[in-house]
């Protein structure tokens, strides 16, 4: 299947008072048309920055140093703001982890959806409002003809997220970037939103990048997974392969940390609760890695195959995958 998106070797810095801070350090991923990819990482790993880089949304003090984002054969990082405007919301849509902040509190939700529709399509206001009702209906909002007149504060968090999804789908985009779509929602509501998203992505023939810190969500709603650590993708694989046997020690750590019961939990206490440090040389994970070799502190590993369609950024990936190390 053809690649819809290919992000290659992206380096991004944040210019702080004390000097530039590396946030993305050669991140890359690829997505086939129709695929759903889960991007997993902890806070500060760079997952949100990666998503915003794809859409060209980073502004100073953020700085894209190098890399390319090939979408439909064109490099988005080389495009002008004006050209990107025709892509954002139309070809590629973004949803927010904080739907309420993403919505304008002073506008009725119907008007906000209509604005999105009119931004890319020559459409009378009346038609746009009518389409807004249909979109609200398709995201499962009851009484959509009434709810178009509601303000965001009159809707629950789950309903606001549905409105955001309706806006994202307004132009049937080829790619949806969903940044933690269920953050802050209750479990039963989360499941409704995830089901909805999966069904609509299928129905609209879109592809999905789902950014999440929840390995449970990715296991059930994505086909592929990319694990991001210290601004680099450290592993990418098919979901079934990944959960059956991860090849990077950090991925293994995450999977153990997510284990659920009192019996499964033992031995998780590797101390990872500190800030990520970027070493000048060697593997970014080496200082915390339980199976690091002296060589790991010298030589930075590349993202390389370890099995069919399974990449890992670790010198010992083959041993880790076979379970020969206590990673």
């Amino acid at each position: 299947m053809a690649l819809l998106l290919e992000v290659k070797d992206v380096h991004v810095s944040f210019l702080a008072d004390a000097g530039p801070v590396r946030v993305l350090n050669g991140a890359g991923l690829s997505l086939r048309a129709g695929e759903s990819l889960g991007v997993v990482g902890e806070s500060g790993s760079g997952k949100t920055v990666l998503v915003r880089t794809i859409l060209g949304l980073l502004q100073p003090p953020w700085q894209v140093l190098e890399g390319s984002v090939i979408f439909n054969g064109e490099d988005l990082l080389k495009k002008k703001e004006e050209e990107l405007r025709h892509i954002r919301g139309k070809e590629i849509a973004l949803t927010s982890p904080e739907p309420r902040k993403h919505l304008n509190p002073l506008l009725r939700v119907g008007d906000q959806i209509a604005n999105v529709l009119q931004a890319h399509r020559d459409m009378p206001r009346k038609g746009a409002t009518q389409r807004a009702v249909e979109l609200l209906k398709s995201v499962g909002i009851p009484d959509p003809h009434l709810r178009v007149g509601y303000y965001p504060h009159e809707l629950s968090g789950g309903m606001c997220q549905r409105v955001i999804i309706a806006m994202a789908l307004a132009h049937s985009p080829k790619l949806i970037l969903a940044d933690e779509p269920t953050a802050g929602l209750d479990v039963t509501i989360s499941r409704q939103i995830l089901d909805l998203m999966r069904d609509l992505v299928r129905e609209f023939n879109s592809s999905l990048i789902l950014v999440s810190r929840d390995l449970g969500v990715v296991a059930h709603y994505c086909q592929r997974v990319a694990v991001i650590y210290a601004g680099q993708v450290v592993e990418s694989a098919d979901v079934a392969d990944f959960y059956a046997g991860a090849a990077h020690p950090y991925s293994r750590h995450l999977l153990r940390a997510a284990a659920a019961s009192r019996d499964e939990r033992r031995g998780v206490a590797t101390r990872l609760g500190q800030r990520v440090v970027f070493p000048d040389k060697g593997c970014a994970f080496a200082s915390r890695c339980p199976v690091a070799l002296p060589l790991c502190k010298e030589e930075a590993p590349a993202l390389e195959p370890v099995a069919d369609d399974h990449l890992a950024r670790c010198l010992r990936r083959a041993e880790v995958l076979r379970g020969e190390t206590r990673a």
């Binding site: 902890e42 806070s43 009851p142 629950s156 789950g158 309903m159 209750d186 479990v187 039963t188 509501i189 989360s190 499941r191 810190r213 929840d214 390995l215 449970g216 969500v217 990715v218 296991a219 059930h220 979901v239 079934a240 959960y243 059956a244 046997g245 991860a246 750590h253 995450l254 999977l255 153990r256 940390a257 997510a258 284990a259 659920a260 019961s261 009192r262 499964e264 939990r265 998780v268 206490a269 590797t270 101390r271 990872l272 609760g273 500190q274 800030r275 379970g323």
Partner: protein
């Protein structure tokens, strides 16, 4: 140690005024107990009233009605000075690690504060105790003169834990202790909480919406929905087979990190209604697929329908008997570990 009741809450009610002589019925008649050395989870979604229950028990807010027996004494109506004498025995761990620590106090003073207020100890003994509890949470005396902002979120939460256990309490109320933390830090904190609970024989009231966290730490679970407990039981049995329709919906929504897990989904209609105008009958009426007319007439009592399993549902006995194969989250262990 187990068997003796440390905390006994009966018919706890808390209403908040909502204007126009209306009330938010945050907690409407909740009863449960915690034994010595037991970790009880109080689980529910936002608006279920779980945090309000925790705050009432510590009298951080005043209950509207009900009794709270702690160490044999009724704390629900106790005067403040007698309550103060009881404070060292009951402590709290808060949700936001950084916000719950005074940014202008060094760690040594933060952890010492509850000892100074609650215990008659010389400054030297107090310092010894502070160092001791900092060791217990895997920090150490090096942390004494540092300030909260110099620590990571996980370390800040461990400072919070050190403060909570400094006075050798019997009961610790933990209000969403890991919801502000990342996965690996969260695992670390949950392990520490479990270890401390076992070592010190603490009792926990673990308030959370995070069902996997609860499963790691707690012996028993009480599930709340709109101000009422709908089901209680041992953690293992509850996760194996929830009996109340709301418990089923809640537990079947949990996504485990195992792509082969069969998603058996028990779906409730719509969203949680407002706790201002609650119906006279079961609060789940209107969303529940099992509901019959009787459910809208009266609220069902918590009844023991299986040994150790108490459920507030008129239909639970019949529906669960008809559906013996059902399980909320029956799951295989993940493949590779």
């Amino acid at each position: 140690m187990m068997g003796e009741r440390l905390l006994d809450v009966r018919d706890l009610v808390k209403h908040f005024p909502a204007g126009h002589r209306r009330f938010v019925k945050a907690v409407s008649g909740v009863s449960f107990h915690i034994e010595k050395g037991e970790a009880l989870a109080l689980v529910g979604e936002s608006g279920s009233g779980k945090t309000t229950v925790g705050r009432c028990i510590l009298r951080l807010i005043e209950p509207t009605a009900g009794t709270i027996i702690f160490r044999g004494q009724d704390v629900s109506t106790m005067e403040q000075d007698r309550l103060r004498a009881l404070r060292p025995h009951m402590q709290m761990l808060f949700q936001e690690p950084y916000d719950s620590l005074n940014p202008r106090m060094p760690i040594g003073r933060i952890v010492e504060e509850p000892i100074r207020l609650g215990k008659d100890m010389s400054p030297r003994k107090r310092l010894e105790r502070v160092v001791e509890v900092l060791d217990m949470v895997r920090l150490g005396s090096w942390a004494l003169d540092k300030y909260p902002h110099q620590f990571s979120a996980g370390e800040q939460q461990r400072i919070g834990i050190a403060r909570a256990i400094a006075t050798e309490p019997e009961l610790v109320v933990l209000d969403e202790p890991t919801s502000a933390l990342d996965v690996s830090v969260r695992a670390e904190i949950l392990d520490l909480l479990t270890d401390l609970q076992e070592q010190l024989g603490l009792s926990y009231l673990f308030i959370s919406h995070d069902l996997t966290a609860v499963r790691r730490v707690c012996h028993r679970v009480a599930i709340m929905y709109l101000g009422k407990i709908v089901e209680t039981g041992s953690t293992a049995e509850m996760f194996e087979q929830p009996l109340h329709p709301y418990s089923r919906a809640l537990l079947s929504s949990v996504l485990y990190p195992d792509p082969h897990e069969q998603l058996s989904r028990f779906v409730l209609a719509g969203e949680i209604p407002s706790p201002i105008d609650l119906p006279p009958g079961c609060h789940l009426y209107g969303r529940c697929p099992w509901a019959v007319d009787a459910c809208n007439a009266a609220y069902p009592d918590l009844e023991e329908i299986l040994p150790g399993r108490r459920v507030a549902c008129f239909r639970a006995r019949e529906e669960n008997a008809a559906d013996t194969t059902a399980s909320g989250s029956g799951r295989r262990p993940p493949g590779s570990f």
